[in-house]
């Protein structure tokens, strides 16, 4: 057992050396600086302008949060890197062994495929973390400007991108193991990435089951974390998909096992994954880590809503592409689902755009049912929806001014020195390190 552990450590070191020898990873690292730089510089400039810099009237930036103003756009560079650069690093690390013939040697060690995959995944995660140092420099620069930093929301953003990177790594590893050729693996990986975007597009047009599925695509998942929302079901499903991807990679890495058996094992893994995802969808816990509670009602409203004991049923006659539906979903219904233990929300529409349904007298209506009583309203603002629910429940609305109001952290400072750091210093240091390596 101890010799197996020692062999695994050696394998881990070998994977690390292979990562450092990989041009794909150095290109990824090199490009992350300018990518983060573009996003950060433009975000800081916009934030400064909104805060009164350059002639804008002061006060516009009030209630402006660095989470949405700075960290979401800055870290979006990591999302681009994860979608278009990280897969090639993962594919290179797996396919390289296969193409050089090293895999045929290494597979003769009795180590389990999962342990081999774990070594590759750990090294890939470490490699990704190093590329994240570009974003860490953005944080340091922001602090040097005197910007406000609320650590829980920054950690949440990083967690979202970590899970996203995990999904990309798992996908790349699985594709590289299944496909004999790295270019086929790259095509497979990009096809899946584009496929998730297509799901997002279909969801926006058709709604229904697609709308529920889109919550678990990497893009939507990252967006939730970038808004400071941590949903247990999303985290669990992402972890399951990561483990499943690495497991699939492990199954197909075993060249000495008959293809038919590997297919059967893959199907079994797929079935277990689907079942686990189905179970995880029932996990309802979520945490709003944003400083301004952007994913929650006010604490006073939450206290009143938690007094509702009956199930609340809502039927909204709005088409998927109707902007009122998007507004209602993001500003009210998503918060209701987090607050009320029993809430059932259903959208009703005959078309995807709702354009010709406007003549239908019921289009635009939102029907609320609670404890045998019902109300119909067309209002989509948070205040109006909550007022309707309080009225149905027979509860008094909370009084105003009973809690602290988030005033925001305006900062009218231009991104001084950021261009030098991200466009000159970063590429120079990475190029120098790459030559040394």
């Amino acid at each position: 057992m101890r010799s197996l552990d020692r062999a695994w450590i050696r394998l881990l070191r070998k994977e690390w050396r292979e990562l450092l020898a990989s041009r794909a990873w150095w290109v990824f690292l090199f490009l992350m600086g300018p990518l983060v730089g573009v996003s950060f510089i433009s975000a800081v400039r916009t934030y400064a302008e909104a805060s009164g810099w350059g002639g804008t009237s002061a006060g516009v930036g009030e209630a402006f949060s660095p989470l949405v103003g700075i960290w979401a756009p800055t870290f979006s560079a990591c999302e681009i890197g994860a979608a278009f650069l990280l897969p090639f690093v993962a594919i290179r690390l797996v396919s390289g062994d296969r193409q050089s013939g090293a895999l045929k040697l290494e597979l003769q060690h009795p180590m389990s495929a999962l342990a081999r995959m774990a070594a590759k995944a750990l090294v890939l995660f470490a490699g990704w973390f190093i590329t994240l140092s570009a974003a860490a420099m953005a944080v340091a620069l922001w602090l040097s400007y005197g910007g406000s930093l609320y650590w829980p929301e920054l950690v949440t953003v990083v967690l979202g991108h970590l899970l996203n990177a995990g999904l990309v790594i798992a996908l790349g590893v699985a594709a590289a193991s299944v496909a004999e050729n790295p270019s086929t693996a790259a095509i497979l990986t990009l096809a899946v990435t584009v496929g998730t975007w297509i799901i997002g597009f279909i969801a926006a047009v058709h709604g229904g089951v697609w709308e529920r599925a889109v919550d678990y695509t990497p893009t939507a998942m990252v967006a939730q974390f970038q808004h400071g929302l941590v949903r247990l079901d999303v985290v669990l499903i992402a972890l399951i998909l990561i483990v499943a991807g690495l497991g699939l990679g492990g199954i197909w890495m075993r060249l000495g096992v008959a293809v038919r058996r590997r297919v059967c094992e893959s199907m079994a893994l797929g079935a277990v994954t689907v079942a686990a995802i189905f179970v995880c969808k029932f996990a309802r816990a979520s945490w709003d880590m944003s400083e301004n509670r952007m994913n929650s009602f006010s604490q006073a409203d939450e206290r009143v809503l938690q007094q509702i004991r009956h199930p609340l049923k809502i039927e909204a006659h709005l088409a998927p592409e109707d902007p009122r539906r998007t507004d209602l979903e993001h500003r009210v219904f998503s918060k209701l689902r987090r607050t009320l233990p029993e809430v059932e929300i259903r959208y009703v529409s005959a078309t995807s755009v709702g354009l010709f349904e406007q003549t239908n007298p019921h289009y635009g209506e939102i029907c609320y049912r609670l404890g045998g009583r019902s109300r119909i309203s067309r209002a989509t603002s948070q205040e109006a929806v909550l007022a309707t629910i309080y009225e149905l429940a027979g509860l008094p609305p909370p009084g105003e001014g009973s809690e602290d109001i988030f005033r925001g952290h305006p900062l009218a400072v231009p991104p001084k020195g950021a261009a030098v750091v991200f466009y000159l210093a970063w590429p120079a240091v990475v190029a120098a390190l790459g030559r040394l390596g």
Binding site: K14, S100, A102, K104, L105, E106, L107
Partner: protein, 252 residues
């Protein structure tokens, strides 16, 4: 008589590994068909045959780096599960350049450490295979012959008693080939058992103790040089055989 084309496995107290009914096909193409033979302790067994006879496929199926369609590999008294296989056999494929971006020194050190190889033989094997001047070079920068010497070093340092090497003389010049023959023999004396897939018949005739002769994926003969001579001589319509090449041509 030891010639057992398509016959039952011959049992011998010296048998280390027994391969029974090994078969492999790539779609409609049958690469290896019902091959049965044994590997004996302390021998150099040559797997010989014309191009496309199935030598590499057979070695890879025995080593477990390719799935066999049929057949069994038994090691002493234990069946061919992964654990037993990895403790008995080590296989070196032909034409690979493992860990191409790493140095030769690192590659050897990694192989010895990862597989639990013979670190005590490290300097001896490095010297025998003239690897010392190459230690600082990357694997990708090596010539074909140099790469082969690196792979042979990994093979000879492997802890397993049986080592299967695909085309060990490929890429080596005459002098290096002769030196390698002596080196391999030395390691066999020291306790290793070698299974070599060789397409140069004269080299095989010189170094191997016994042979497994394949043709079109089938086992044509198994035995010592003399036994193969005898088997070929028995074939009707053949002129008297002068050398091992003629034996090879007569049997394939």
């Amino acid at each position: 008589m030891n010639i057992t084309p398509q016959g039952e496995p011959e049992s011998s107290p010296e048998t280390l590994v027994r391969i029974t009914g090994m078969g492999k096909n790539y779609g409609d193409l049958i690469a290896v068909r019902d091959v049965t033979f044994s590997i004996r302790k302390g021998e150099i067994l040559g797997v010989i045959g014309p191009n496309g006879a199935g030598k590499t496929t057979l070695l890879e199926c025995v080593a477990g780096v390719q799935p066999a369609a049929a057949g069994n590999v038994t090691f002493g008294d234990s069946s061919g599960n992964g654990q037993a296989r990895s403790s008995f056999l080590f296989y070196i494929p032909d034409g690979i350049a493992p860990w191409p971006h790493q140095s030769v020194r690192w590659a050897i050190d990694f192989a010895v450490g990862f597989f639990g190889g013979r670190r005590d033989l490290l300097s001896e094997v490095t010297h025998e295979l003239h690897l010392a001047p190459l230690l600082g070079k990357t694997v990708a920068s090596l010539s074909k012959g140099q790469r082969k010497r690196l792979l042979l070093a990994i093979a000879l340092l492997a802890p397993q008693p049986v080592v299967l090497i695909d085309e060990p003389f490929e890429g080596l010049d005459l002098r290096q080939g002769r030196e390698l023959e002596a080196t391999l023999r030395k390691h066999v004396f020291a306790g290793k058992t070698l299974v070599l897939s060789i397409h140069q018949i004269t080299v095989a005739a010189r170094i191997c103790d016994r042979f497994v002769l394949l043709s079109d994926g089938k086992l044509v003969a198994e035995g010592t040089r003399e036994e193969l001579f005898q088997a070929a001589s028995c074939r009707p319509g053949h002129a008297p055989l002068r050398d091992f090449e003629e034996v090879f041509l007569a049997l394939t």
